[in-house]
């Protein structure tokens, strides 16, 4: 793998951590929210963040792949 690719993977791992941080924050929100509507919205956002984490993992996999 080229050095530039390794650098890219490092950036996306940072992104993964940010997405993970966001997910954890929204989990904290959900633990304390009382409004049903807001719970639904934040849960949706939290679930999206989990998906984003998977997407970033997918991107890292693409960069790492040989073909």
């Amino acid at each position: 793998m080229q050095a530039s690719d390794k650098q890219l993977i490092k950036y996306f791992r940072e992104l993964y951590n940010i997405e993970k941080g966001a997910r954890d924050l929204y989990n904290d929100f959900l633990a304390e929210l009382r409004d049903e509507k807001e719970i639904v919205q934040i849960r949706k956002i939290r679930d999206d963040e989990e998906k984003h984490m998977k997407i970033v993992e997918q991107i890292i996999e693409i960069i790492s792949s040989k073909s």
Binding site: I18, G21, H52
Partner: protein, 496 residues
Amino acid sequence: MKLKLASKIILATVLTIFALGSLATMTVFYYVHKSVLDVERENLLVLAKNSTLEIVRVLTDTKSVAETIVRQPEIKKYFDEPSVQDVDVLKLLYRYDINDRFSSIYVISRSGETLISTDPSFVGQNYSFREYFRNALAGNETVEVAVGVTSNELGYYIAVPVRNNNGDISGVLVLKLKAEIINSLVNVSGLSNSGHVMLVDDHGIVTYSDKSERTYKSLGSLDPLERKEIEKLKKYPNRNIIALDYGFVLEKIREKKKAGVLDIYDKIDSNQEILAYSQVGDYPFYLIFEEENKNFSLSAFRISFILGLFVFISAILAAIIIVITARRFLRPMNKILKFLRDISSGNVGKKIDIKTGDELEELSDVFNEMSDKIKEAKENIEKKVEQRTKELEKFNNLMVGRELRMIELKEEINDLKKKMEKKTLKGWTDRFGTGLNYEEEVIRDLESVYVYKIEASSLSNEKKVKIKKLLDRLIRESKKHNEIFKKLVKKHASQR
């Protein structure tokens, strides 16, 4: 096998000269041969015709002698009271036998009986079977060739009717001319060593030839009726008449052609030959002259050989001249070739020096211009590449610095946020505000840094497309989250 240009030119030129030269040589041979043969045919025919003239003269003179004899009073009144070997008539006959030309001069009665003859052996013999006798008795002067049944000698029989004072035919006078008299008149001096002559009668039977084995042979096959007629007339008694291979000439004689020339293949001699035939005046004899073609082919071959030799020498000289000339003309081409090889190996800026005053010099000038332009273009490209590389390096350093700083800031913000969330958060307005900040930062990073990084990377296009698609989704959904957090912040801010 690769050939150099000079070799190709030489080969093409030499082959062309050989090919065209050979064609010319063969054409010349053909036409010269044809012309020579045409001339020889004409010559042979003239020779044949001229050779008959002397024979005609002798036969005609002999006829005149015969006519003179029968006009003599001794002959005219002889048959009034004929007696065998009448002294006066015999003396008369002897008088006309000049130079021993005649085998015999004799007088025959109407019944065919010989009454008087300078050759006593003829006396009492009956020649009524002879064609000359029957023709003379019918009033026609006749010349005929035959072998004598009495003498067994070949001779030319000139027969004239003997008329009495009343003009009635009372008998026949015959002068038998010796064959050698006629044969000696056949002139072969105009023929080559391989040429031959034949004297034939109107049945095509050879009565004389320089090739003695041909005597009493026929030119071609005789049909049975003709053979029977000849036997009946006792023209050539006790002679086995075998056919030669000159049937074509015999046909012409039968067609009563007076003269002509034929090209034949003689199977017996295995030769291509020219035959010229000519009738001896109006007499029933033909003179045939024969020559082999190869005698004439020789001169045509000689001419063609000289031409062929000339072609060969020309081809050699042409090859030598072309080698010298080609080397001189191809030297500038080699210089150009070397120059182009240098250019292709990156050695630009070189010049070639050709001063031939023709298109090659123009070509070299154009190539020199081209070399200068290539060198200039190469230098420009190198400068631009250097400049661009420097810019990219600068930008890269900037981006890396920024990214590192952004990562540091994010970490600081995350710490601060966490601290703030735990210690100083004033309700949901602030908390949702944190969420909003998170999303905004993610969007900013994705749009400005991550997309650029992927674009500028060395990944394959396929990977770039896939990653971009995923990034677009992240950006899209983060923007939606952004909107939701904006509304939540506004809602809680208004409730405070």
